[in-house]
Amino acid sequence: MSTRAGTAADDQFYREYILDHYKNPRNFGRLENPDISHEEDNPLCGDVIGMDFRVKDGVIEDIRFHGRGCAISQASASLLTERLKGLPLEDAKKIGKADVLGELGIDISPARIKCALLSLKVLKVGAYGLAGNDEDEE
């Protein structure tokens, strides 16, 4: 039953680009005087991710994320910020779970799905105020 990979490079789950985003997260850090700033935690493991947004004329001009977490939540946050930077808020609203999971490009088990979607939750709740406890995806 083991799916242990011969070398790290061809690991089916911890793919190279995931590990790269984990070790070298893009847009990591804080913004000074952000227009929006929001944090969420994953109650299942205590991990926290926060995002700072600078918005101008309805466009996400700059973005940073901070916090700690597993490779999946960190890589997912890093990938999401790359996508968000320069995007009109209106378009950001359309980003859904399928997009985030698709971008990660790996098979996520139910146990890890919250890790993968934590940054999306920060975006949803922080940037356009959706209910924080809407977890109907479960």
Binding site: P43, L44, G46, P110, A111
Partner: protein, 404 residues
Amino acid sequence: MIKTLDVETIRKDFPIFKTGIAYLDSANTSQRPRQVTAAMVEYFEKFNSNVHRAAYRIAEEATVRYEATREKVRDLINAASTKEIIYTRGTTEAINLVAYSWGRKHIKHGDLIVLTLLEHHSNIVPWQILAAEKGATIEYVDIDERGELRLDQFQKLLEHSPKLVAFGQVSNALGTINPAQEMVAAAKAAGATVLVDGAQGAPHQGVDVRALGCDFYAFSGHKMLGPTGAGILYGRRELLEAMDPFMSGGDMIKAVRIEGTTYHELPWKFEAGTQAIAEVIGLGAAVDYLSALGMDAVRAHEREITEYAYEALSDVEGLTLYGPPPSRRAGVISFSIEGIHPHDLATIADRDQVCLRAGHHCAMPLMTRLGVAATARASFYVYTQKDEVDRLVGSIKEAQRIFK
């Protein structure tokens, strides 16, 4: 057309019948088919682990199976969301949860709580304690000579704007089927919060909590082919959201800090600590079993057996039947025999391996009202055969011979 139950095939799923018993105590607790025990044993032997916070596959599997029951139950009673389905040990814990979390917040000095004389102790004592604590008043709707609720009196009581109306869908002692939908509608119109004790409802008939319109609906898995240790509280989301937790501890929290704690969302807010995982999974298998039979077919079968038993018992000399005619009752028949105490009858029946209940059926106020200390009670379920009713009649005649 309603399917009919193939009782002979059904009985093959219940290993206990190999012992030869005629089990006529299903209103107390039902028997469990091997599908239910198999689901539990599968958990124990294949993916035994704790749920939620899973970091490995067997715990994921356990979590999926455990949460799957919620959807099955939601579907069974047609709730709007699985957030409205709270796992409890059974009806009693479900009602206590409401008494503590909703009741202590909303029932105030001078408030009126309306119950009925048909209630099981589990739908009386929590409200008595609450009322005593808060200085609220309880009024009980009386029954008529057929053991049916005095709806005229119920209506009168509603004029006094009760805060809470709580009643059983079906009486476990008399089998009376109450006009629950009508009663809920009237109580809601009077501004009351309404709890329906479905312990004798959900196992025996199709239930649609949204059509019923109640705020809370409580029932027990062990009375519907499920294992002991798992039951359900349904609550309307809006009410549940506004309620404080009942028990607290692991798993029902979002974050615990020395400075204070935030709670998890529904339904987990009400599920503190390690739950009865195997039992909830077993309950899921029980719901599957019942759903495959079809609740209409279950009800039709019970009605047929009840009519048969009612007839057969009516023919016994010196036998008094309590409660409404068979068309208006569920699969429960309470009776007494002149000159023979129910306990003696049950002892004699037991020698013939006929399992009969004798006592007050946790409905002492009703017994007081009927002027008896105890009755004998036969109750039926999906596996009950006419032959078992015949055996009961045989035992009664034997008792009469001994006590003649």
